[in-house]
């Protein structure tokens, strides 16, 4: 190998040095076939980083008090030294925007460029969930549209009303995702044009739906009495299309929140993979540079220090333990897949016959493109990794006054642990399953929702509050039911609260 002259390893960064490092990293990334959106790397201050935190990482967003609260919170904890800020934030857009903090040393900037601009960036571009659910081309435009639209609404209809509508939408944000339908991609121009169109159209549809003159035949009446015909899990969508008294601008706001929720939906499902992928690549790329003699030992020591603290996994009995560190799990899984490809053991050949001994880069790219956390873990978590992490499975049944160790990292337990860990990342197990089962459009317009508990886990105590928000949007009675032991629905919450539930 040719001996390269190492890059300047002075810890102060300059824009010239940044581009030098970036060039080398880009070259190595291409060598490993990382396909990325163009990078836009922005250097920001601490305060701007806190701004970015508060606005869920987006460069532009509409105004709402919750973002102010979040900013104050971040500022407070940061100032007291309770929390360090992230080194970077990266936005799934095209060009892919990454924020670097000005306080970072040169080494940190290089790490962050490799991590965000090539790791996360290629993940955004390659993973099937992001491809299906988000449109990197239009997100910034859409955010701009929504910010302006909401600002105009505030001017026209008053801050208070807009705020109340947003509050209500935020409460239902997790229930604003179409899990099965593929969303459409549209640009800002189209969005603006469509918005006006939609406003008129929807209102006319609503009017048809709620027309009081009974003109349809008996049969149709029967049919529409069980409206919607199938349970609807996308509550916000249902509200947007069917709430009787919502004003057109409120429908648009519901839509904006729904779209935002949908945009973040893939990120929730690929935390382990996304972070693991990015960590794997900053580790691999920087080591590649080191092997080429482009970075010095001094650089490497600082790099490894940061790297190891990012992927540290405290044990269950440690004071620092707060669940499984997605960086640690993801990074180690990708490293492990590479190991299985390059140096498979007998065990690996038994567990992963298709990938043991295959080309590691092909396998890794395939894994990144076609999985989400849940399926990724159930597909690739190896016994060796379970042993390394010393995983064990606790089964906790409310009825018992003890918890039971259901499986540990041994021959009998591998499959059970892998299955449990995988379901731990299954969003449908983590989020409550609440669906709209009926809107009584011929009667008192009561909206009925059904909660189906997962493993008998009851709803948290804020449900009544959320119903108030739903009531604000629906503007007629709202009730929440849950099937009891016999499978018969029982009302568990009602808004507005009435004294005589029996009637």
């Amino acid at each position: 190998m040719t001996i390269n002259k190492p890059l300047d390893d002075n810890s102060d960064w300059t824009f010239d040095k940044l581009s030098l490092y970036q060039k080398e990293i880009a070259r190595v990334a291409e060598h490993y076939r990382l396909d990325t959106y163009a990078n836009q790397i922005e250097v920001i201050t601490t305060e701007q980083m806190m701004d970015a935190y508060a606005s869920i990482g987006m460069p532009i967003g509409y105004n709402h008090w919750t973002f102010g609260k979040k900013f104050i919170q971040t500022e407070q904890t940061y100032k007291r030294g309770h929390m360090g800020l992230a080194y970077e934030i990266v936005i799934n857009s095209n060009p892919c925007i990454s924020y670097l903090m000005e306080e970072n040393t040169m080494t940190m900037q290089a790490l962050v460029i490799a991590h965000a601009c090539y790791g996360h960036n290629s993940f955004f571009k390659g993973n099937y969930l992001f491809k299906t659910w988000t449109d990197a081309e239009s997100i910034i435009d859409y955010q701009l549209f929504s910010k302006n639209y909401i600002a105009i609404c505030e001017e026209k209809y008053g801050i208070s009303d807009v705020e109340a509508t947003l509050d209500a939408c935020h409460a239902l944000m997790n229930h604003g995702v179409d899990r099965y339908k593929r969303p459409q991609k549209i640009s800002l121009d189209e969005e603006l044009k469509r918005q006006a169109e939609r406003e008129r159209y929807i209102q006319s549809q609503i009017n048809t739906l709620w027309r009081t003159i009974p003109s349809e035949s008996e049969q149709q009446k029967q049919k529409s009495s069980s409206f919607p015909s199938e349970p609807q899990e996308n509550i916000l969508y249902f509200i947007e299309k069917n709430a009787p008294l919502l004003k057109p601008w409120q429908r648009e706001i519901v839509r904006i929140v729904r779209k935002t929720s949908q945009y973040f939906y893939p990120q929730k499902q690929t935390q382990v993979m996304n972070e693991g992928w990015a960590c794997f690549w900053h580790y691999t790329i920087i080591n590649h540079l080191y092997d080429e003699g482009l970075v010095t030992e001094k650089f490497m020591l600082e790099f490894l220090h940061s790297h190891t603290s990012v992927i540290a996994q405290p044990s269950y009995n440690s004071d620092y333990y707060s669940g499984i560190n997605p960086y640690a799990l993801g990074f180690n899984m990708f490293i492990d897949i590479r190991r299985i490809c390059e140096q498979p053991t007998e065990e690996d050949k038994q567990w992963f016959p298709t990938i043991a001994g295959s080309n590691w880069l092909d396998t890794l790219h395939f894994a990144m493109e076609n999985f989400k956390d849940e399926s990724f873990i159930s597909q690739y978590l190896s016994p060796k990794l379970m042993r390394d992490f010393k995983f064990f499975h606790i089964h906790d049944d409310e009825k018992n006054d003890y918890v039971e160790i259901a499986a540990i990292h041994n021959e009998v337990g591998y499959k059970k642990i892998r299955e449990t860990l995988s379901s731990q990342y299954n969003l449908s197990n983590l989020e409550t399953n609440i669906q709209i089962i009926n809107a009584n459009i011929r009667g008192d317009r009561t909206l009925t929702l059904r909660h189906i508990p997962h493993q008998n886990i009851p709803l948290g105590d804020s449900s009544a509050e959320v119903l108030k928000h739903l009531h604000y949007l629906w503007q007629f009675n709202v009730k929440l039911v849950q099937p009891n032991d016999k499978g018969v629905d029982e009302v568990i919450a009602y808004c507005p609260i009435i004294k005589d539930l029996a009637s």
Binding site: Q40, I41, W65, T66, Y316, F391, I408, S463
Partner: protein
């Protein structure tokens, strides 16, 4: 392919709007915190920001989430002692609290109250919200007005002192160029012809002589154009503009006789501080005059006003007289005058009617607002009764009774609340 952008210099305070929204939403809680603070805080730091504490439960953003209970399966790392089938008893009293559980909690942080700081500006806005400067509407009519000269372009007439040389010379040059251009054209043509004739092989003596005469004449004419003309003169023009006075004087009158103890003085002090802060929001320059009195009145500095001990009887009129005198001497014109008198109500009985007279005749006609607070636990005495008669007649006189420190802020608000209803009736 990568672009580097330095964003450090732009878009600071991006979250300001969101922060204001937050404060707007939690105004009632924040206000409560602010009004508690004005009574608790030391007097001197009343001008800084304030820490606000809001109970966390008021700030929650509810979502549907999984509660406690049911069956939970979780994987944890770092097994050091467990084998399959081990059973660990749950801690008593806490139902279903497995290791590392609590993923359903809606916020990662503890349940302590939500505390944050607001800036001095935000603090004052909240403190003085809904308060309007007393008698402001009425003041609009007979508002004290000052005149100020401002530049307003140029004019053709004026005194020599106001001549604008550059403008005038510009005019002069333009005029001279305009008035001589045809003559200079002729002159140039004549000179060219002359040169042609002189170089000719034949003699043209007569023509040459004619031309020379013409050239001389033209030169003379050009020279006759005046260098500067009255027409060129430009003068700087000034006009008088009315501006409302931005200066106010605040008179603090306090009884320091033996009956006033330090606690009572502290209450009075807080009241003055509030008044001062309040005035700073409307006026640029504010003079504060401290007048203390027992049987005699004296103008003192702030330190002496609040902290020196005196004994003796009480004649309130002496302070009022001194105030009237100072107004006449120093604040006769262009000052908005505010008065605040604090007392424990003790006064020499014969003096009270006289106080009423001075206020009515000398002070109230000139003052924008005069307030009287009586800090006492006892029943009101003669001064109060006499003042009450004034209050009935004069819109810009107000009086309140304060018992404890906690009363100050409410009383202050009441005294200065927007659009005094009495004013409209009057």
């Amino acid at each position: 392919m990568a672009n580097f952008i330095d964003r450090r210099l732009n878009s600071k305070n991006k979250s300001t709007v969101n922060r204001q929204r937050f404060i707007r939403r939690y105004k009632s809680q924040i206000k409560k915190s602010v009004s508690d603070a004005i009574n608790d805080r030391g007097v001197t730091d009343v001008d800084t920001g304030e820490n606000i504490i809001i109970p966390r439960k008021d700030l929650s953003e509810p979502v549907f989430h999984q509660g406690k209970g049911g069956i939970k399966d979780k994987v944890h790392p770092g097994n050091d002692q467990f084998s399959t089938g081990d059973r660990i008893n749950k801690p008593k009293g806490q139902q279903s609290q497995g290791i590392g559980e609590g993923d359903a909690s809606d916020s990662g942080e503890g349940n302590d109250d939500f505390a944050f700081s607001i800036s001095k500006e935000e603090y004052l806005n909240l403190l003085f919200e809904d308060l309007e400067l007393p008698n402001l509407e009425k003041n609009q009519l007979n508002k004290l007005v000052e005149y100020k000269s401002v530049r307003s372009g140029f004019c053709t007439e004026g005194v020599p002192a106001n001549i604008d040389i550059v403008k005038s010379l510009q005019g002069s040059i333009a005029r001279r160029i305009a008035m001589t251009s045809s003559k200079r054209k002729e002159l140039r043509a004549a000179k060219e012809t002359l040169a042609v004739l002189k170089n000719d092989k034949h003699d043209h003596i007569i023509e040459i002589n004619d031309l020379i005469t013409k050239i001389d004449l033209l030169k003379e004419r050009i020279a006759h154009i005046p260098f500067i003309d009255t027409f060129d003169m430009k003068f700087r023009s000034f006009s008088r503009q009315a501006i409302p006075t931005s200066q106010a004087v605040m008179f603090c009158l306090m009884d320091v006789s033996g009956s006033m103890d330090q606690a009572t003085k502290d209450i009075a002090k807080r009241f003055y501080i509030l008044l001062y802060l309040f005035l700073t929001r409307t006026y640029k320059t504010i003079d504060v005059v401290y007048i203390r009195h027992h049987t005699q009145a004296k103008e003192v500095d702030e330190q002496e006003f609040f902290y020196s001990q005196e004994t003796g009887g009480t004649i309130a009129s002496s302070a009022l007289e001194l105030m009237a005198k100072i107004v006449d001497e120093r604040y006769n014109t262009n000052w908005n005058i505010y008065g605040a008198q604090a007392s424990d109500g003790d006064n020499w009985a014969d003096d009270s009617p006289y106080c009423q007279k001075i206020l009515n005749e000398k002070i109230l006609p000139k003052a924008r607002y005069f307030s009287y607070i009586e800090i006492t636990q006892r029943a009101q005495q003669s001064l109060w009764k006499n003042y009450q008669e004034i209050e009935e007649k004069q819109a810009h006189f107000a009086m309140r009774h304060i018992k404890t420190v906690d009363d100050i802020y409410p009383v202050f608000r009441e005294l200065f609340k927007k659009q005094l209803t009495k004013l409209h009736n009057a």
